[in-house]
């Protein structure tokens, strides 16, 4: 552990909450107060420190003032929106700001629920700073600088050994003979709140559970974020790689103008020329300006002039993306692909000469991908089932394209437990290997 050398010169400390989270799931003020009280208790359980919540009239005089703030908030540590930095606290001292603890109000604060950031875990960490502790490299330690997820039941939480030693090095061990003061909050802490429940609990939402199962029908890089579409829902991943929420959003609530009952999107891409977003569903396509469909759509897929080698007209698109390597738009369907040099035209268009070509030209990637995006440094990412393949920028003919797990790398799912590999790879159905049987 590491300490700053700064400590409170008193053992009775007061705290107050200046404001409350403003983003969903909107923890109720009484729940926030309870979570904070238990987070202080984690430190007072092992020392003789005592923490008291101030009355509302004295909240500005508290030693540790807790607030939820956004972006620049006049302390030299601006917040950066969802993800990134979560919170900070000032070390003990005589200054007015000493001990103050700020949480980024643009996080989805929650508890015992993996849909957001666990307020209790972060509060315990930040109060460690407010009491004089620095970041620890030890594992396990609540003072590790990185968010480590929920820490479980707040009423039974105890500090890891490293943190216990750290705080006791500053304030000593809890004296077993000490008598709690009458207003010691640990004697009348309220019952811990229950984890928040969905507001519309009519039916269990199966799609909320199967983020880790893959099978995304469409994947698109839109304005630098990656959208994974599945059924009626989509998940969204920020530029930083952070999943906005483990819970999916309803497509119809975000993308306004798709037909009611839309339960499968074949492919989506953002047009390079004008940043319009194109949705392919069955034999039609829609053009969106931002999140609203442009009038005049849907139009028939036949506008695109997608004629297969056998002369038949394509009835459905598998994948669509703009390849950063050359700025061209590619449409995949039935093992073939077409290239377009798009302008600002609407209505009928024609693929570049010489197309379609066989999808197998994209060596190492599945020939019938669910969808494709350009991501990172211009590489092409092919998605299929629960895997993805990266074709390095500009490369069609690459050896050893290794597939990776969409669930683990994109959806923040745990790595699967290794299973015993079948000794005979010809046992189809038992094979645990990649899609292309490598």
């Amino acid at each position: 552990y590491a300490t700053t050398g700064l400590r409170w010169k008193k053992s009775d400390l007061t705290w107050s909450i200046q404001n409350y989270p403003s983003l969903p799931p909107l923890l109720q003020p009484n729940n926030v107060r309870t979570i904070m009280a238990y987070a202080f208790k984690a430190w007072s359980d092992v020392t003789n420190l005592k923490f008291h919540a101030t009355s509302s009239s004295e909240q500005d005089r508290a030693d540790i003032k807790i607030s939820f703030a956004r972006s620049l908030h006049d302390d030299g540590y601006p917040f950066d929106g969802k993800g990134g930095t979560l919170a900070h606290a000032f070390f003990p001292g005589e200054a007015d700001i000493a001990g103050d603890t700020h949480f980024d109000d643009e996080e989805s604060w929650t508890y015992l629920d993996d849909s957001g950031t666990d307020l209790f875990a972060v509060a315990v960490h930040e109060f460690g700073h407010a009491l004089g502790l620095s970041h620890s490299s030890s594992h396990p330690s609540i003072m590790r600088p990185y968010y480590q997820g929920p820490v479980g039941d707040i009423a039974s939480y105890t500090l890891p050994e490293d943190d216990r030693y750290a705080i006791q090095s500053l304030y000593g061990r809890k004296s077993s003979l000490s008598t709690p003061s009458p207003n010691h909050p640990t004697t009348h802490l309220p019952k811990p709140p229950s984890p928040p429940r969905p507001k519309v609990p009519s039916q269990p939402d199966p799609s909320a559970q199967n983020r880790c199962e893959g099978g995304f029908e469409a994947v698109a890089n839109i304005r630098g974020e990656v959208f994974f579409f599945k059924g009626q829902y989509f998940w969204r991943i920020q530029r930083t790689g952070s999943l906005v929420s483990f819970h999916p959003a309803l497509i119809k609530n975000f993308w306004i103008g798709l037909p009611p009952g839309t339960n499968k999107i074949d492919a989506v891409y953002e047009r390079k020329t004008d940043s319009r977003i194109i949705f392919f569903i069955g034999s039609q396509y829609w053009v969106f300006k931002d999140t609203v469909a442009v009038s005049g759509y849907p139009r028939p897929l036949s506008d695109w002039g997608l004629i297969s080698h056998d002369g038949s007209e394509v009835k459905r698109v598998d994948a669509a993306f703009v390849w950063a390597h050359n700025g061209k738009t590619y449409i995949f369907s039935g093992g073939e692909f077409w290239r377009f040099s798009e302008g600002l035209e609407s209505g009928r268009r024609r693929p570049d000469a010489g197309y379609p070509r066989n999808s197998s030209l994209w060596k190492g990637a599945p020939s019938n991908p669910d969808d494709i995006i350009t991501w990172s440094d211009g590489d092409a990412y092919f998605f299929k089932d629960n895997s993805y393949w990266i074709l390095k920028s500009g490369g069609l003919d690459q050896d050893n394209v290794i597939h990776k797990s969409t669930a683990v790398d994109w959806m923040m799912c745990p790595k699967p437990t290794p299973t015993t590999r079948p000794t005979n790879p010809r046992h189809r159905g038992e094979c645990n290997c990649g899609l292309n049987g490598a």
Partner: protein, 87 residues
């Protein structure tokens, strides 16, 4: 890593105390060796293999949500805080 990742990495290392902040008076550049040392220190602190390179595990960690306070707090940081408090 691409240049963008590299500059973001250097920014991250400065922000969390592994590299001295750039000096606006001299515009002094960080040295390649200094950056490698800082990456190694960050990797050791985080429990990663200390390769000194912005490898995939390190880049992933750079994108992990975290506390805003630096991991390495030098005397410079403490002085800065006191000055800020006085203002």
């Amino acid at each position: 890593p691409m240049p963008d990742q590299y500059s973001r990495g250097v920014d991250w290392l400065s922000r969390y105390g592994y590299l001295p902040p750039p000096d606006p008076r001299t515009g002094k550049l960080q040295t390649k060796e200094g950056i490698e040392r800082a990456i190694k220190e960050m990797q050791r602190f985080a429990g990663l293999k200390d390769t000194g390179k912005l490898d995939s595990d390190t880049l992933k960690l750079l994108n992990t949500p975290r506390c805003s306070l630096p991991d390495i707090i030098g005397s410079e940081d403490m002085l800065k805080k006191r000055r800020r408090k006085r203002r």
